[in-house]
């Protein structure tokens, strides 16, 4: 009896039962559908075993979009619950679970998935490479991320979700104060997907450093690739800290160690420190690729070269260094005294300098341009003012004396949403719309896209500006309810209305994908936006090998130079192309990881050991495997090239 009881949800509600039913029905529908249409083989050959960076990028994209909706539903429920004083839509426990999973899903599985999706798809194309440096490791990365995400979402229906916040501060998250398995899910799911992210980091550093097309020196890389390089360097330095912290937390919860407990020498704030030593660089892991996307989009649609290329690169390097020395600003109120707070206050505000430089560079890129208001450009232009407000309130939070008043309030919530939404979400939507034709061979509808943009940008402002006010009026964050006398009601109601606006915007994006898939023209050419960098120099859709002939590069906007200044991109003749083989091992190994994580969460040690053996067997298999990839012959390349051309002329 005892064994099965732990899988039950401690606080079931109709929503959870409905989701259980929905999950079971969807799974059945997928299995039946795949069987009926005889797609199992296709799924296995083309997707589950693929090592192609483009397909892996698309799988990241689909997962991230799914997670966006999971996190979005959480958000709507939170705003609905707090829209009125003394509301009883959710009880305290449910509210706590929902804001915890909202944060985890949005940061780890939505934002990270999204940036890695775009890096995967775009960076090898932008540097003229055939794939990433370690294609199979890339597949391992994706499947670990995917299994981590699935494992985390399983907590909703088996055993209960974590409820101590996305930061999961100990001692609250310790086994004494959070006895349910929810926080075990947090520890294991993030550990598994975090390993995947670390591998991505290594993979992309090597890819960018070693696989650039001839002529592309570091200072001739497109800005998105630069941002990817710096992001991945931060990943490699920051993620091991998370790995260690999660391992310590897991041991505290399951093996009775006392790193973070309130007794026996445990240190209350040790987790918080470790978490934010990873957590603050993580903010820049998310935002730097976004800056890269904005640089590409703004320069493309202002029809101008990016202003101040060198200072753009320098400012990213400075941001990456500073990102590691500001973590204490997440707890100025820990009581470390005026001197420590002053040091971290100054380092925090110093980040505003390189960030400000970037904002001015984008403004100067627009200057004397010929600005076209496409959907990606609209997101980039709305990003500048909203992010400026989010950024300057960040500087205000960085003044530690005043932070004693902002800390843990809705003011903080307003700040980081107004940084992350325009900074990351807008960039992802801009990037998605911008690179969509390269991914799928048709454009998203501009009119629906503009409607979605209006709802999302106005919704963001309406949802988060009122929080500045209620925060200064003393509304702490993470309160599931408040009394009418506080006067918070009106501000929270406005926020709820804004959240509905955001929801409508995201539904419109889904509708746009459906609509454009059905009706959009497939005749968009290779370079529909009249862009500047190499990814637009190959065909639509991109052949497996990316470029039939490796391009030669002379500047950071090689394609533009070939269009306007007589630069020749493709000089050599066709040669045989060496490509990596598909492999099912990454998928199988990640399934073992999933079983390992799940059994670990529920302390089922026999399956833990069995799955661990499975994981090592997969690694062993790889070590002794003789796989030199395959070659694509010149005839085959010619055939593929003429087919793509043919398709284009239809």
């Amino acid at each position: 009896m005892d064994f099965f009881e732990r899988f039950l949800i401690p606080h079931p509600s109709p929503i959870i039962y409905a989701s259980m039913a929905a999950i079971v029905l969807t799974t059945i529908a997928i299995i039946v559908g795949l069987t009926y249409f005889k797609k199992w083989g296709y799924l296995w050959r083309e997707w589950l075993t693929t090592v192609d960076h483009k397909k892996i990028g698309i799988m990241y994209l689909i997962s991230a979009l799914l997670m966006l909706f999971r996190g979005g539903v959480d958000a709507i429920m939170m705003r609905a619950q707090t829209s009125m004083p003394e509301n009883t839509l959710l009880d305290a426990q449910h509210y706590n679970e929902i804001f915890s999973t909202h944060g985890v899903v949005m940061i780890f599985f939505m934002a990270m998935g999204f940036i890695i999706a775009l890096m995967n798809f775009v960076i090898p194309l932008q540097i003229g490479a055939r794939d990433v440096a370690y294609p199979r490791l890339n597949a391992v990365s994706f499947w670990l991320y995917f299994m981590g995400a699935m494992l985390f979402n399983l907590s909703f229906v088996i055993g209960g979700s974590p409820s101590s916040g996305w930061t999961s501060y100990f001692p609250l998250a310790g086994s004494e104060l959070s006895p349910s398995v929810g926080t075990n899910y947090y520890m294991l799911a993030l550990q598994i997907s975090g390993l995947g992210t670390l591998m991505t980091g290594i993979n992309f550093i090597v890819t960018i450093l070693k696989m650039r097309a001839p002529g592309m020196t570091l200072m001739k890389m497109p800005m998105f690739t630069w941002s990817g390089l710096i992001t991945n360097i931060i990943i490699v330095f920051a993620f091991p800290v998370l790995t260690v912290a999660l391992a310590m937390g897991t041991m505290d919860r399951l093996f009775g160690t006392n790193f973070f407990t309130t007794t026996d020498g445990g240190m209350d704030m040790l987790w918080a420190n470790l978490f934010w030593v990873w957590g603050h660089p993580e903010v820049y892991i998310l935002i730097l690729p976004a800056f890269g996307i904005y640089s590409e989009v703004i320069s493309t649609f202002a029809k101008r070269n990016l202003y101040g290329y060198n200072s753009m690169v320098a400012s990213m390097v400075v941001i990456s260094l500073l990102s590691f020395v500001v973590w204490v600003h997440h707890f100025f109120t820990m009581g470390q005294g005026a001197m420590v707070n002053s040091i971290f206050s100054i380092t925090t505000m110093a980040i505003a300098i390189p960030t400000g430089i970037k904002i001015f560079n984008w403004l100067l890129t627009l200057w004397k341009g010929k600005i076209v208001f496409t959907v990606p450009m609209l997101y980039s232009l709305a990003f500048i003012p909203i992010f400026t407000i989010g950024g300057v309130t960040g500087v205000m939070l960085g003044m530690s004396a005043a932070d004693y008043q902002y800390h843990n309030t809705m003011f903080l919530v307003a700040h980081f949403h107004l940084v992350i939404i325009p900074g990351v979400v807008f960039a992802m939507l801009a990037g998605l719309t911008y690179w969509w034709p390269k991914m799928f061979g048709f454009m998203l509808n501009e009119r629906i896209g503009k409607w979605a943009f209006s709802f999302i940008s106005i919704g963001t402002c309406v949802a988060f500006f009122p929080m500045f006010i209620s925060g200064l009026d003393g509304q702490a964050r993470r309160m599931y309810t408040y009394s009418e006398s506080t006067g918070f009601g009106i501000w929270n109601m406005i926020s709820f209305i804004g959240a509905i606006g955001l929801a409508i915007g995201f539904i419109l994006i889904v509708y746009n994908i459906y609509y454009s898939t059905r009706y959009a023209s497939r005749d968009v050419g290779d370079d529909p936006w009249d862009a500047r960098s190499l990814e637009w120099a190959t065909h639509n859709p991109v052949p497996e090998y990316n470029f039939a002939i490796t391009p030669h590069v002379n500047s950071s906007q090689a394609l533009w130079d070939s269009k306007k200044n007589g630069h020749t991109l493709f000089r050599d003749g066709l040669k045989e192309i060496h490509m990596p083989n598909n492999s099912g091992v990454p998928f199988v190994m990640s399934v073992f990881f999933f079983i390992f994580g799940f059994s670990f969460i529920f302390s089922m040690w026999i399956t833990v050991i069995a799955s661990l053996i499975g994981i090592f067997a997969c690694m062993l298999h790889r070590s002794f495997e003789n796989d030199h990839g395959h070659h694509i012959s010149v005839e085959e390349i010619k055939r593929t090239e003429s087919e793509v051309r043919g398709a284009k002329n239809e």
């Binding site: 305290a92 505000m349 709305a382 005043a402 003393g474």
Partner: protein, 319 residues
Amino acid sequence: MKMKWVMLASLFTLLAVLTGCEPLLVLDPEGPQAQTQANVIWISIAIMSVIVIVVFAMLAYILYKYRASKQSDSYEPPYIKGNVIVESLIVGIPVLIVIVLSVISVQSNYKVEATPEGYENDEPLVVYASSSDWKWHFSYPEQDIETVNYLYVPTDRPLEFRLYSYGPITSFWIPQLGGQKYAMSDMITTLHLAADNAGEFMGRNANFSGEGFAENTFSVEAMPQQEFNDWVKEVKQTADPLTEDKFNELLEPGHLGQLTFTGTHLEFNPPPQGHHEGHGAGSEGEHNDESSSEHDAHGEHESDSGHADETEENTEHQH
């Protein structure tokens, strides 16, 4: 274009509300620390507004002037690599702003970590504020009384809160008297406040601490010293003594109303010994001497506590 106006309008609404008739708690200070913080907030809002307006104006102007629909088809935007003067301006101006803000920030940091301005010569009232799921216990060692979930303090006397927790990390916050500070189970943190005027204020735990977090509040009443003395006298006459059993009962997770006791739990359940007062905080030595004599007085009870292992750290601090 319309986005810009929406955003400008929201900004002005925000400013209008901030300056409006019903002041927001944080911007309605009733003590010197909250006053310092409100001043910093106002200064930073002013400087930030200038930055925001400059960026918005530049963006609006550029978008208006250089939009494609306004230009001839043959216009080819120029290739502009960069300009040393422009780039040193966009580096230099933010650097200057950050320097100004840093000076303000550092000065105010030392202010809020010291005995409140204007109260330096008065003996502070020491209150041990400890949290348990989901309550606040206030021990007045000087008066030898203890309250739960409400706090009476005299005006015109500095207040020194020693914060710790019997559970998760919490944050002690009375917005109108000053900003918050964490209460933790393994060390004491010190928060210096003072109330200029009599009145009732909202106090709460601001740091998420589990299921009962939303209702984890307390009320604060500041009153003239004479009234405070009367209240203490009344408590001494009417309230029950706080016993160890009773206190352990109070520590059980849950919510309680307002309670009053004579005696404090400091005698049988002393606070953690690790003291985490910042370096350079005002009059540090004096406070340490005081707490050390107190710990000596209660030294015999230390073995009862689960925090006895902290003594080492304490020794380092005190001697």
